[in-house]
């Protein structure tokens, strides 16, 4: 009885251990499965599968469906370009040449720089794409989403790419009614670099507000076919001016005057000089000197008294005055430099230009 119970208990324990082990293994594997499940799914995968299976009708249907998605489900431009390329190839394989050309045309308008892979697509598809490209006049522009330009020194660079050789007209317009500013008018081959100096047509600095960068592609007859429009949000960046230098104060300046004496020396000198004059005849042994000398002695005494009065007056210290003058000159020079710098800064207008998403508008 006891042995049977013990065997039953051991069996239960064994199953519990196995169960625990399996649970741990599943818990360890679970994150990997979750991560795998979160990998992005190619929205074009079903269509491309059909394309690779040579099921072109279904591929075309799926590609058109993917391209028709709107709102949050709208394909990114890169995927749209890929979808259009596969759609063009699919239509070509289906023998629907106008549909293929239409897809390639849409692709070139979306991305004039698109070049199909010669590994994926056969030469006849590439040839049809190139043939279509020659006939399509489209452009795209590359511009920094956020940039700052200082007028008159800086310029906003705009790189323009073209699908084919044609005439374009690049201009900046404003909703404020100002005349348009022509940035470029002429032929574009592969690409060109134009720039905007931040000024309006009048030459005045751009005002805060919305501008529109417009790149119009023109037909051989000169009429505009389509236009790439990039809204530009312009605002003025406040200009910081330099603060004036700290004014010179008593701590930085040396004393220019000093009281050198208290007058004692002047008094002693005056008394000694007057005494010398009065006693001189006696000292040399003369007995019948005149009283003329008292006038001189009085003069010395008076000078001594004046010396006593003036000795306590502050006296200039030439080396300190020179030092302070140098300091003042340097301060004035620094002030002038800052004034000049501030004038330059105030004459500078700094624009912050925010470029928004480009939109292609068909003119006709």
């Amino acid at each position: 009885m006891t042995n049977a119970m013990a065997k039953a208990t051991n069996g239960v324990m064994t199953w519990l251990k196995v169960g625990t082990l399996l649970t741990l293994i599943m818990l360890l594997l679970a994150p990997a499965r979750v991560l795998h499940a979160q990998e992005p799914v190619d929205p074009l995968a079903p269509a491309l599968t059909s394309f690779n299976d040579l099921d072109y009708d279904i591929a075309a249907t799926r590609l058109r469906a993917a391209l028709a998605l709107t709102g949050a489900q709208r394909l990114p431009d890169a995927d749209r370009a890929r979808a259009l390329m596969y759609l063009g190839a699919t239509e070509n394989f289906r023998g629907v040449r106008p549909g293929a050309i239409d897809a390639f045309r849409s692709l070139l308008i979306l991305d004039p720089r698109y070049r199909p892979s010669e590994v994926i697509f056969p030469p006849e598809v590439i040839a049809l794409y190139q043939e279509t490209r020659i006939g399509v006049r489209a452009t795209s522009a590359q511009i920094a989403p956020l940039s700052e330009i200082a007028i008159p020194t800086d310029r906003l660079p705009i790189k323009i790419f073209a699908s084919s050789l044609h005439d374009i007209r690049v201009r900046v317009t404003t909703s404020l009614g100002a005349p348009e500013r022509i940035l470029y008018e002429g032929v574009i081959g592969d690409s060109i670099l134009v720039s905007w100096d931040g000024r309006e047509a009048s030459g005045a600095a751009g005002r805060p507000g919305r501008y529109l960068l417009r790149i119009a592609s023109r037909s051989a007859s000169g009429s505009p076919e389509r236009e790439v429009q990039i809204p530009l949000e312009v605002e003025h960046v406040p200009i910081d001016t330099l603060p004036w230098p700290e004014p010179l104060n008593a701590r930085s300046l040396r004393p220019e005057t000093v009281v050198r004496a208290n007058g004692t020396k002047q008094v002693i000198t005056g008394l000694a000089g007057a005494a010398a004059v009065v006693l001189l005849p006696t000292l040399v042994g003369a007995t019948d000197a005149s009283s003329l000398r008292y006038g001189v002695a009085a003069g010395i005494s008076v000078a001594g008294i004046i010396g006593l009065a003036t000795a306590t007056r502050p006296q200039p210290v030439p080396e300190n005055i020179a030092f302070n003058n140098t300091l003042r000159a340097e301060w004035t020079q620094e002030l002038e430099r800052i004034k000049t710098e501030n004038r330059t800064r105030l004459a500078t207008v700094r624009l912050r230009v925010r470029a928004e998403r480009a939109v292609t508008v068909e003119i006709r």
Binding site: R260, A261, K265, Q266, I268, T269, G270, L271, A272, G273, A275, A276, V277, L279, L280, P281, L283, V284, G285, A286, D288, A289, S290, L292, R293, G295, V296, A297, G299, I300, A303, G304, I306, G307, T310, A311, Q315, P316, P318
Partner: protein, 224 residues
């Protein structure tokens, strides 16, 4: 003995002035001056005689570092006072002193001193070799200074009254700077006592007003 005692007293006066000398004597490279002296001569020989009169003088001094050579010439006409029948005398005085500044406030020097009294009957001459001591002190900053100059004749010769026995003298007075000019006005009292071998004495005193062109003082003022 009396003369030597006086010498001691004279230099004592000069030395007494030293503590009051507040600034160094500055030697200008070139000093030129002209002066006028109201001279008074008291001659006590056989009889007492008093002569008075104006004397005009000129001086020049050249300095190099601490050495200065100064020459002075003065000439004038003296009129006897209170003596009937006495003749006028022409007074001529020439002196050269070479000085060296031994301390910032004291200079010592030596040099010949010639003096003559020219009368219709003859000329009385003095030929001396004198030792000098000079000190200066400032009274009004940059404007007024006091100067004390003392001299003692190491040798004194005369062609009258049996010859010279000794001489000593001194001068003291004010040096007033005229602001913003290179000039200064000197107001000095001068006294000189000479002793003859026969016991007679000749005392010369005067008040001298002079105008001095002083380049270095001018430069100092300009700097201020």
């Amino acid at each position: 003995m009396r003369l030597r005692s006086s010498v001691a007293k004279l230099f004592g006066v000069t030395l007494l002035a030293l503590p009051a000398a507040v600034s160094a004597q500055e030697l200008s490279p070139l000093i030129l001056g002209a002066d006028a002296t109201t001279l008074r001569v008291v001659r006590d020989v056989a009889t007492s005689q008093l002569l008075e009169g104006p004397v005009l003088g000129a001086k020049a001094a050249f300095s190099f570092r601490r050495l200065q050579v100064e020459g002075r010439y003065a000439e004038g006409s003296l009129v006897p006072s209170g003596t009937l029948g006495a003749d006028d005398e022409k007074f001529v005085d020439a002196r050269v002193v070479a000085r060296v500044s031994v301390t910032p406030y004291l200079s010592l020097g030596a040099g010949p001193h010639l003096r003559a009294f020219v009368t219709p009957v003859g000329t009385a001459r003095w030929t001396r070799m004198e030792l000098h001591a000079r000190t200066e002190g400032e009274l009004i900053n940059g404007l007024a200074r006091v100067r004390v100059d003392a001299w003692f004749a190491a040798s004194a010769n005369s062609n009258v009254q049996g010859g010279g026995d000794g001489a000593m003298g001194g001068e003291a007075g004010l040096l007033l700077r005229i602001p913003n000019t290179p000039t200064a006005v000197h107001l000095m009292y001068t006294a000189d006592q000479a002793t003859f071998v026969n016991g007679g004495t000749e005392f010369v005193e005067g008040i001298r007003i002079g105008l001095v062109l002083d380049r270095i003082l001018s430069a100092r003022r300009a700097a201020r």
